[in-house]
Symmetry: C2
Subunit: 216 residues, 2 copies
C-alpha cells in the first residue's frame, strides 16, 4: 500500500512549497495544481474557474447558502461547486494507486484515511503570511495589508468549512495531525530537510502498522 503524506496549510504559510520540497527529498509524487488540471480534463470547466470555485467553498455562492436553501434550491455556482468537489474527491482517492505521494489540501487527510496518511499542518503568524503572499504575488497585484489579511482569512475560513464537513477533527486542530510546523519568519528550504527526516519516523511507523495489520 502506498505511503501518503497530506499537507494542510494556512494560506500564505508556505505549505505548498514545503510539500513540493518534501516530495523532491523523499522521492514521492506531488499533487496540488495537478488535481485542478485533472478536474479540467474530466469536466467542461476551465482551470481558473475550478480553482476559484473550489477555493471559495460551498459558502462562496453568489447568494448566501442559507438564503438559497431557504428557497429550497441551489444557485448555479453551488451546483457547479458540488460537481467539481465530487470530481476532485474521486481524483484524490485514486492518486495513491500511482505510488507514494504528497497531497496538498483537498481534504486528502480524510479522503485517504484508509492509507493511514502522515498528516502535517503548516501555519504561521499573520505578518509572516502577508509577507509571503507579497513575495509570491503577480506584479500587477496591489493589495493593501488590510485587503491581503481579509483575503487570507476568507480563504482559510473556506478551507476550514470544507474540511470540517468531512473530518472528525477540525481543520488546524493539532490533535488531527502528526506534526504542526510553524513557518513564521522561516525559510521553507531550510525547514524541508528536517521535516523530511522527521516524517520518515512516522512513515516507518505507519508501514509497520500496515504490516502488522496484514499479518494479523
Amino acid at each position: 500500500m502506498a505511503t501518503v503524506i497530506t499537507i494542510s496549510r494556512e494560506f500564505g504559510s508556505g505549505g505548498r512549497e514545503l510539500g513540493k520540497r518534501l516530495a523532491d527529498i523523499l522521492g514521492f509524487k506531488y499533487y496540488d495544481r495537478e488535481i485542478i488540471e485533472a478536474i479540467a480534463k474530466e469536466t467542461s470547466f476551465d482551470e481558473h474557474y475550478i480553482e476559484k470555485t473550489l477555493e471559495g467553498g460551498i459558502g462562496s455562492a453568489v447568494f448566501p447558502i442559507t438564503f438559497s436553501h431557504s428557497f429550497g434550491y441551489l444557485t448555479q455556482l453551488d451546483s457547479n461547486y458540488i460537481k467539481l468537489f465530487a470530481c476532485q474527491n474521486k481524483i484524490v482517492k485514486s492518486l495513491p494507486e500511482a505510488g507514494d505521494c504528497i497531497i496538498v489540501g483537498r481534504c486528502a487527510d480524510t479522503l485517504l484515511a484508509e492509507y493511514n496518511p502522515v498528516k502535517v499542518f503548516v501555519y504561521a503568524a499573520m505578518p509572516s503570511k502577508v509577507e509571503r503572499c507579497r513575495e509570491r504575488a503577480p506584479k500587477d497585484e496591489h493589495f493593501t495589508d488590510k485587503q491581503l489579511i481579509k483575503r487570507i482569512k476568507k480563504i482559510d475560513k473556506a478551507r476550514k468549512q470544507t474540511h470540517d464537513m468531512y473530518s472528525p477533527f477540525s481543520w488546524g486542530d493539532k490533535r488531527g495531525y502528526h506534526l504542526c510546523v510553524n513557518t513564521t519568519d522561516m525559510e521553507i528550504k531550510k525547514l524541508a530537510p528536517v521535516v523530511a527526516e522527521y516524517l520518515k519516523v512516522y512513515i516507518e511507523k505507519a508501514a509497520k502498522q500496515q504490516t502488522d495489520k496484514t499479518e494479523n
Copy 2:
C-alpha cells in the same frame, strides 16, 4: 545570550522524556525536577508537597478559589501556592545564566520571553497517554482507566490555567509554539533525534535574530 528551549506538554505525552533526550543530544542543561529541588532548598516545604501544590494550580485550594475569594481571604493552601509559584518563577528566570538549557513546563516559555526561546508543545491522543502513564506508574498504583483519564484531564486543566494567567497564547494553542509534536503510539527515543535536528534550524534562526538585534 543562552539558547533556551521550552517544552510544554500534556500529562502522559512523554514530553519530559523528550526534553531529557533532547538535552542529551544537543548538549544542553535540562531542568524539570531540578526546579522542585531548588525551591525546596529556598523554602521550608518538602519536595513532594511543592510538586503537588504547584501541579494543582491556584484552583487546587481545599476550598474553591471562588468561595474563598467571596469571603475576601486566601486559604493557607492558596497562600503557599503563591509563595511557591513566585519562588519557582525566580528560579526559572535565573536558569539561562548557567548556559543553554531545556526547561520542561513551569511557564518557562513566557517567563523567559526575552531569550526568544524555541517553544515545543508535546501532545498525544488520550489512549496513548493512558498507556504511557501505566508504563511509568509505581507498582502500587492501581487506577482504573476512568480514574487515570480524570487525573490527566485535571492536571492538564491546572497547567492550562496557570500558563494562561501569564502568556499571550493559550496553553496548547499551536500559534504559541514553533513545533507541535504528536507522540501518539510513538517511541520517544525514535522521535528525539529528528526533533533535535528540527530544533537546530530554529536555534540557528534565533541566534541570527539575536546577532542582528545586537548589531543594530
